[in-house]
């Protein structure tokens, strides 16, 4: 599974993109976040306030209940500020 982080999430976690192989019981984004938070203090900090974070699965906006599976691309980022 490919996981991407943008803006301050990338800075807190220290990488913009990584390949991860979570256990089979990680079936939705919420479980993926809980699993990622175990990876270190940067993750813990980045995912502290889930209300402040938006996410996408396979480049479409999704929510924490969205299912994830092997091969998916999951991205985490703050609310967008373009234009």
């Amino acid at each position: 599974m490919k996981v991407l982080y943008f803006a301050w999430l990338r800075q807190k976690i220290g990488v913009g993109e990584e390949s991860v192989d979570p256990p089979a019981d990680v079936a939705d984004v919420r479980a993926l976040v809980a699993w990622l938070k175990e990876r270190g203090p940067g993750y813990e900090q980045a995912f502290q306030d889930l209300g402040a974070i938006k996410l996408a699965v396979n480049q479409e906006y999704a929510d924490l209940d969205h299912p994830v599976k092997r091969g998916d691309e999951v991205a985490f980022f703050p609310p967008v500020t373009g234009g």
Partner: protein, 157 residues
């Protein structure tokens, strides 16, 4: 429908001209150009901005912009539309974004152009980080007023 996501600057005149070139059905073209401001309102205080850097999500950005454009074409009778959005580092006065719409009639062109920039600001995955002096930076926070602007275009149903 055209979407361009690029680092380099663009020429609004040339882009707008190309939008209606060779299409005599176009009766009006409406455009919006967004620029880097030298001041930003941070929690009610005006704060200097030296420069900003726009980060984006390659792939999803283009996809979202194409979806937003397709939605504009679904709602208004447009002959053509264009979104050009830059990323990378920019200083005050530089162009960030161009949105343009071409239609047989002005009303559709005006409304679709307004819709495109309002939706883009809340849906396209771009993030701005401002340089605030002495090597410090600040991620720009999303504004409720932008959400409200986008919500105006919610379809009644």
């Amino acid at each position: 429908m055209t979407v361009k996501v690029q680092r380099e600057d663009f020429d609004p005149g040339r882009e707008i001209e190309a939008l209606s070139a060779g299409n005599p059905k176009v009766g009006g073209v409406c455009s919006f150009v967004g620029l880097v401001r030298d001041m930003n309102d941070v929690a009610g205080q005006m704060s200097d901005v030296g420069a900003l850097t726009l980060e984006h999500y390659p792939g999803m950005t283009e996809r979202q912009l194409e979806e937003i454009e397709a939605e504009a074409h679904r709602r208004w009778p447009l002959e053509a539309s264009l979104i050009v959005h830059r990323y990378g580092r920019m200083t005050p006065g530089e162009r960030i974004v161009l949105v343009a719409t071409a239609s047989p009639h002005r009303e559709a062109a005006f409304e679709a152009c307004h819709f495109l920039i309002d939706w883009l600001k809340t849906k396209a995955p771009f993030w701005k980080v401002e340089e605030t002096g002495a090597g410090a930076e600040r991620w720009v926070e999303a504004r409720d007023s932008d959400d409200a602007a986008a919500a105006r275009w919610a379809e009644k149903g």
